[in-house]
Amino acid sequence: MPTVRLGNVSPAVFVAESNETDAGAKVHVDIDNGYDHNNTVTLFGIPPQTPLSEALVTVRAVWDRNHSFDPPEWVESDDEVLEMLLASEFNCAVGMPDDWEGLTP
């Protein structure tokens, strides 16, 4: 099951208008991570056999709708091709920086 980790410097949560529909809005969230900024990590578990194109579309859509207001700072994945594609899609670095300050898995 491919996994993806994205460095999230502008975390958000999706707040539904009701519990019956998927309508709602993304709002900023403060992470109590022990640092002066709001860095955290967003995790994705992608089902096996998912085509790369579908994985790319899904991660992009959910990231934009649910998890962040800005592109990720970095990406890591156990699938090297997907990692490269996501880095290109988001124009971000590959691999968590050694000096990353924020929540980590």
């Binding site: 519990n19 990590v41 859509a61």
Partner: protein, 210 residues
């Protein structure tokens, strides 16, 4: 919305559920594609529902069970742990088994054209789309979560194909704990559902606040 069976599901999966007196044994009755006999272990009726039975490198999600000296567990299929959304795994031989505490995740996403309002008493997704080799069929969704936040999301990008008999307008989604049947946990209307033709893609995302 989280339906009534979803409350039951959440309580047992997150809280552990009913731990039976005996949760492991060695069977001598050959398992079948959708049943497993515990042989000598009596589990109260349906108290294993939603739990995972593990045997010889594969597992099944219990739909229901009988109570008898040799309880019979009904599962939807045997799963390959490396590809649970793929074809059913081969039926294992009899032998040592384990019934795991908690339960299987509700990561199976299904859609329907039915636009009726979700109701707490719903146990199935009315008119669930399930065409042979269709692109809109129930499947495992992508899970995501931002560390430190109080929600997670399950999302699936569906691609419509000719087997779906398009056009199709998915208007509601449901999350289940099995590939077939199983327990409905969440049910949500899709806002402004589009009419899809063959080749169209639709990403459905359900956000769960925890």
């Amino acid at each position: 919305m989280k339906v009534n069976t979803g409350h039951d599901f959440q309580s047992s999966v997150m809280g552990g559920g009913l731990l039976h007196t005996t949760n492991t044994g060695t069977s001598t009755t050959a398992p079948a594609a959708t049943t497993f006999t515990t042989d000598g272990v009596n589990i109260p009726v349906n108290q294993a529902a939603g739990m995972i039975i593990q045997r010889a490198g594969v597992y099944g999600v219990v739909i229901s069970n009988t109570s008898a000296t040799n309880s019979v567990l009904t599962i939807d299929k045997w799963y390959d742990p490396n590809n649970p959304s793929g074809a059913a795994a081969a039926t294992p031989a009899a032998g040592q088994w384990v019934l795991l505490p908690g339960g299987a995740p509700s990561w199976w996403m299904a859609v329907t054209e039915n636009s009726g309002a979700p109701a707490a008493g719903d146990t199935t997704l009315t008119a669930e789309l399930n065409a042979a080799s269709g692109g809109l069929n129930r499947t495992i969704a992508t899970w995501s979560h931002t560390l430190g936040t109080n929600s997670y999301a399950l999302a699936k990008t569906y691609t419509v194909n000719a087997n779906d008999s398009p056009p199709k307008t998915p208007a509601k989604m449901g999350l289940f704990n099995t590939a077939n049947g199983g327990r409905l946990v969440f049910e949500t209307l899709i806002s402004n559902p589009p009419a899809l033709i063959s080749g169209d893609q639709l990403t459905v995302t359900d956000t769960v606040t925890i």
